[in-house]
């Protein structure tokens, strides 16, 4: 392998690094946070596109066009979702309830193809082993499971302490 080619590869890698910095800054923090289906998708696509420049398999202009289109489509998509919630539901999906009032919601679980075992695993990851403590658990559009506890299972708050002290004392 000749030194010229190696140094060119290193240079292109540097160029890609700064190019990606710009793209990520333009798209905003969401893409890195993987907030939705699309954010993951875009991160995947961008990652796949840029390796070709580093090895010099395609020209810089070609990659710029590809990145520009992907980033532009993503930007347009986010904008549509922000502007109209109907689009948002269509493109990103809607949250699905899998536990309601301490009971597994079989319909929701089927829709997400989740087994009871998987739901319990998600609850354990949040430190819960008693499903009765769960008022509502939802699969959010990013695939994560959010949990809202029953009022009596919520952590004590400072404002509760006065009452406890008052009634105990």
């Amino acid at each position: 392998m000749d030194p010229h080619e190696l140094s060119m590869t290193a240079l292109r890698a540097l160029g890609v690094y700064f190019l990606m910095l710009v793209v990520i800054r333009v798209l905003g923090k969401r893409t890195i946070g993987n907030f939705s289906a699309f954010d993951l998708l875009v991160a995947l696509m961008l990652g796949e596109v840029v390796d070709e420049i580093i090895y010099g398999d395609v020209s810089i202009a070609q990659v710029l066009v590809a990145i520009g289109v992907v980033a532009g489509a993503q930007y347009a998509n986010e904008w549509l979702g922000y502007w109209d919630h109907g689009f948002d539901a269509l493109l990103e999906g809607t949250p699905t309830v899998v536990v309601r009032n301490g009971v597994l919601d079989v319909k929701g679980m089927r829709a997400e193809r989740m087994s009871a075992r998987e739901v319990m695993a998600e609850l354990r990851c949040q430190g819960i082993d008693d499903i009765r403590e769960v008022k509502q658990a939802m699969v959010e559009t990013d695939g994560a499971v959010s949990v809202i506890k029953e009022e009596w299972a919520e952590p004590l708050r400072k404002s509760d302490l006065g009452e406890v002290a008052g009634s105990a004392g």
Binding site: N34, S36, A37, F38, L40, L41, L44, M45, G47, E48, V49, D51, E52, D57, V58, A61, Q62, V65, A66, G68, V69, V70, A73, Q74, L91, G93, T96, M109, R110, E112, R113, M114, S115, R117, E118, A121, R124, C125, G127, D129, R132, V139, T141, D142, G143, A144, V145, E151, W152, A153, E154, P155, L156, R157, D160, L161, E163, V164, S167, A168
Partner: protein
């Protein structure tokens, strides 16, 4: 290859993947099982071949669509059969119980006691507080979940209600 061809292909690939991800469901995104992770890697790797016209778009669509459909079918079957779920996703492995590391579970997951200590520390529990741990599991997703013993859990509002009830005030329905 001409630039406007690349633009059309990039847009096409974007739309195809968008449809596939909506089809495969939200849980694939959260990479709930090792399977989901592998699927996103494969899809990711197929993208650039389509983009640079190394394969025709039709073959890209056929390949990615087939992968997604089989994945959806397998997940659907696993959600209905405990046995299949165990086979594909694997059940949780218990690696700690009542403050004691469990050799069998650790060996099965090839996890050292040191690594376990790290995972438990991530939950804010140092070694001398291990008795606080009721159970730790390695879930199918690879995440280590930790359940604390009842006495070590944060106070809940029902606990305050217990105090109120002692004083004879109404406390609502609570187990």
């Amino acid at each position: 290859m001409e630039l406007h061809h690349i633009a059309v292909r990039a847009l096409g690939v974007y739309l195809v993947l968008l449809g596939l991800i909506r089809l495969s469901g939200k849980r694939t995104l959260a990479q709930a099982t090792p399977f989901d992770f592998v699927l996103s890697l494969i899809l990711g790797d197929m993208i650039d071949d389509a983009l640079w016209a190394e394969v025709p778009i039709a073959r890209f669509v056929a390949g990615t669509f087939a992968l997604t459909v089989i994945h959806v079918a397998v997940c659907w079957a696993a959600s209905r059969s405990e046995w299949l779920d165990g086979l594909i996703a694997g059940g949780p492995a218990t690696v700690m119980s009542d403050g004691q590391p469990l050799r069998a579970g650790l060996r099965k997951e090839r996890m050292s006691e040191q690594e376990l200590a790290v995972e438990v520390r991530h939950h804010g529990v140092e070694r001398e507080d291990w008795p606080e741990v009721q159970a730790a599991h390695i879930e199918a997703s690879g995440v280590v979940s930790l359940l604390k013993a009842r006495w070590a859990r944060p106070a809940q509002r029902r606990d305050a209600a217990g105090v109120r009830r002692l004083r004879g005030r109404g406390a609502g329905r609570m187990p």
